[in-house]
């Protein structure tokens, strides 16, 4: 086993173990913390995939923003959830496991049946510059960039409007 393979297996084990903790642990704050571990593992995978930029973005966006947002939400809605014991719907465990398992097997089946047109090219050293130029070029992905900008602005306005305490205003 080579060194990258070793890193991959360790990271994969960490990701899957922490993801399982996210969906099974009783303490909802602990679930959020395990979620952060999962995000970290995925960031390591991005480094393995020569996408250091995405790894940094993953840490900034997921851990710096989304995870903190989730922890905030957990703590703001905590009083009631503290004493409700199990966090899982008992009658839904079996169907959920079934659906998840069937989906997993189906995905594996599809993956094993497909011949991917693999490319042996290396990532160009200035891939980050290419990404930046293509993101802002009308010939490539400027539409995506602008759409995401509009979406984020709409989400910001919408979440402020939703979460505002109307009775106090």
């Amino acid at each position: 086993m080579t060194f990258p393979q070793l890193i991959f297996w360790v990271t994969a084990a960490v990701i899957l173990a922490s993801a399982l903790q996210v969906v099974t642990t009783r303490n909802i704050v602990h679930a959020a913390l395990w979620l952060i571990v999962t995000f970290f593992g995925v960031a390591v995978l991005f480094v393995l995939l020569d996408a250091g930029f995405l790894a940094a973005v993953q840490v900034v966006v997921y851990i710096g923003a989304i995870a903190i947002l989730i922890i905030f939400a957990v703590m703001l809605t905590r009083r009631v959830m503290q004493d409700t014991g199990s966090q899982t719907n008992r009658h839904l465990i079996a169907p959920a496991v079934l659906i998840g398992g069937v989906l997993f097997v189906a995905l594996l089946f599809v993956f094993s049946r497909t011949r991917w047109p693999l490319s042996s090219a290396a990532v160009p050293p200035d891939s980050l510059q290419i990404l930046g130029l293509e993101l802002t070029s009308p010939d490539f992905y400027m539409t995506a960039l602008v759409t995401v900008g509009v979406l984020l602005a709409a989400a910001m306005v919408g979440s402020i409007a939703i979460a505002r305490d109307e009775e106090k205003d």
Partner: protein, 425 residues
């Protein structure tokens, strides 16, 4: 190889010859670990000095003497304090989440120390030259926010949790102008490098940003961005005048109220080290890093310049802490969202437009720098006038409110009337 032209390679070669009996991949790994340990320990030892410096400087500002008993001029005071903290009882509150509670102080120190990995100390002395250096700083810095949240929650104390809420709200808000103002040096470095026809250049790497400041530091080219970066990253450290997280005279100490002994000490170390790291970042991004006379021939001299600039920026932070009063929490957020963020966006837009109109590739770096400086002055002037007009308008509103109040005996008007006889007391 000459020690003075490339000290790191010299030491590495020396170690390689001494440790030649170790097989190759492990030897490189060992040397890397060695480098990490050296930089990390240097970063951790630094607060021993800066804490003393800060206490002495603030004491001078407040007309006191400060610690001067342990060692020469009290230099060993911090070590004595550290020993004291280590011998104290390490209390874990009842009902605390033990793992998270112990993890938080470690994480907060890690988040600061790992920033040192990308700081360029001299022309060829740096930990790693990441092509996403600026983003890395932001990413690692956000771990500190997380650690504070965890510490506040795991203490099982509602005041600690409230303190953590305040802290995280502040840190998350001030991250926005900090990131936006970091974009400006990246933009300028990139367009200057393109103008000079450099191909092997990563505009987000801190090393290349410093290289781009060879002729003129970015402080002179982008003073507005420098100011925003300075203010918002001082707010990120959570020090006075932004120390709402541990406003010790108003609320309990905030998220770290339950921590004692060395765990509390680690929060302190992280705070002081973070303050110095902010100084180092200001020096890297805006003050020209290691640039100075003969810095390229003698990297150690460059390191001296870098440290001198970092200490200058850090000294300013210390003076701010001693001189400015703590700001109110609603003012804190208003300054951020209504002043710093729009100003940072304006600085980015102005930089981009000026770089397009006065293209450095066409007119040369000098004219471009001059145009950028002039445009920054215009932005600063407009922002200043707008802010003072806003403040005047707010004051008029307050005064109108006071005027509308009914006259009460012993009320507003009487207390401030100049008719009171002097010497009545």
């Amino acid at each position: 190889m000459d020690f003075f032209s490339d000290p790191i390679a010299f030491i590495a070669n020396l170690l390689r010859t001494w440790l030649a009996f170790i097989p190759e991949p492990w030897l490189s790994l060992l040397l890397m670990t060695f480098g990490v340990v050296v930089v990390g320990s240097a970063a951790l030892v630094l607060p021993l000095f800066t804490i003393w410096l800060e206490r002495r400087v603030i004491a001078r500002m407040q007309d006191r003497i400060g610690p001067n008993r342990v060692g020469y001029q009290g230099l060993l005071q911090t070590i004595a304090d550290a020993i004291k903290l280590m011998t104290k009882e390490d209390i874990t509150p009842l009902g605390a989440d033990k793992v998270v509670y112990n993890l938080a102080p470690i994480l907060v120190v890690i988040s600061v120390i790992t920033m040192w990995a990308v700081l360029p100390f001299a022309v060829n002395i740096y930990g790693a030259d990441l092509n996403i250096g600026v983003l890395y700083i932001v990413a690692v810095g956000s771990l500190g926010t997380l650690a504070i949240m965890l510490g506040g929650w795991a203490s099982n104390n509602k005041y600690a949790l409230l303190g953590a809420f305040r802290t995280v709200a502040q840190l998350v808000c001030y991250e926005v102008p900090m990131i936006l103002s970091m974009v400006v040096p990246v933009l300028i470095a990139s367009s200057w490098a393109l103008a000079q026809g450099q191909t092997d250049f990563n505009p987000m790497s801190l090393k290349d940003i410093v290289v781009a400041q060879q002729s003129v530091p970015f402080l002179l080219v982008a003073p507005v961005a420098a100011l925003i970066f300075f203010i918002s990253s001082v707010a990120e450290t959570g020090r006075a005048p932004f120390d709402l997280l541990e406003a010790e005279s108003e609320i309990v100490a905030g998220f770290n109220i339950e921590y004692s002994g060395m765990k509390f000490g680690m929060f302190m170390v992280a705070e002081f080290l973070h303050a110095f790291t902010v100084g180092a970042l200001v020096a890297t991004l805006f003050l020209g890093g290691w640039h100075g006379p003969w810095a390229t021939q003698y990297p150690l001299l460059g390191m001296v310049y870098f440290l001198a600039k970092s200490f200058a920026a850090y000294f300013l932070i210390v003076l701010m802490r001693a001189a400015l009063p703590r700001i109110r929490i609603d003012h804190l957020f208003e300054i951020n969202w209504k002043f710093l963020v729009p100003l940072a966006v304006a600085a980015i837009v102005v930089t981009m437009v000026v770089n397009k109109l006065v293209d450095p590739a066409v007119v040369g770096l000098g004219w471009n720098a001059l145009a950028l400086f002039a445009s920054n002055l215009v932005v600063a002037w407009v922002a200043f006038n707008w802010a003072s007009a806003q403040a005047r308008w707010l004051r008029r509103q307050e005064e109108a409110k006071l005027q509308a109040l009914p006259d009460l005996p012993g009320g507003h008007d009487e207390a401030h009337s100049p008719a009171q006889p002097a010497g009545a007391h």
